[in-house]
């Protein structure tokens, strides 16, 4: 099995990016490329669906951090959902849960983005 695979799909105008596996210094370039490709094509609202993410190291967090200003300056955002306990612990320990909107599920996140009650 590859260390990381990434699926991207469009759900009502939201780019849903689902990493499967491990994001670390070895795989971060693939993750960064996928995010940069979305931003380059004008997709500034990105939902990171972490249901299949085994772990993310600081290299992956840096990739997200590197793009957050650009997406927000363009009226978008990067949101997170379906975080496993260990992945949530990483985001939370570094204060990312204050920087990013975190949702229990993708449905909650997409509802919030569409303006309907969660």
């Amino acid at each position: 099995m590859a260390d990381l695979a990434i699926q991207v799909k469009d759900v009502g105008g939201v780019a849903v990016l689902r990493p499967e596996g491990f994001i670390n210094a070895h795989t971060v370039r693939m993750f960064e490329d996928a995010l940069e490709k979305l931003v380059a094509s004008g997709r500034f609202t990105i939902l990171l669906d972490c249901r299949s993410l085994n772990y993310i190291s600081s290299a992956g967090l840096g990739a997200i951090m590197g793009l957050i200003e650009t997406v927000r300056e363009n009226g978008g955002d990067i949101l997170l959902c379906n975080l496993a306990e260990n992945v949530f612990a990483i985001f939370d320990t570094l204060g990312f849960t204050q920087l990013y909107r975190v949702f229990p599920t993708d449905v909650d996140a997409l509802q919030a983005l569409s303006g309907t009650p969660e």
Binding site: H26, N86, Q98, L99
Partner: protein, 143 residues
Amino acid sequence: MKPAADPESFRLVIPSQTRYLNLVTAMAKRASLVAGMDDATAAKVSIAVDEAVTNVIIHAYKGESTHQVEIELRFSPDRLEIRIWNTGGGLHDEDVVLPDPREYVKHPRKGGLGLLLMSRFMDEIHFQDLGGRSECCMVKRVS
């Protein structure tokens, strides 16, 4: 893996290549479980090891793939001690300045997060120069 002299410890030596990170972190997680930690704690130890080995590969060895990273796991009834050695140069305790997470949230920037994760997820971290070899020692107590 070759058995070390101490029956309560063992060592792994890997090439300085990030493709082996997954192997090392999986071993660290399993070792933490063997030491008596729960799943959540073992996951934190494995991340700390990922960060420490990544630092060696990227910073000490500057991404050069021909060096070695030596990792030792030492088991005691009340703690797991993980030592990571390299010959590319390293940090000393006095060099380590951890970013303040509150400031980080106010002024986000890329980088500087690995050491913070290591310090938050482990109970002790020490860096020292052993005369040609640099050591990072991390301790997680078993509660």
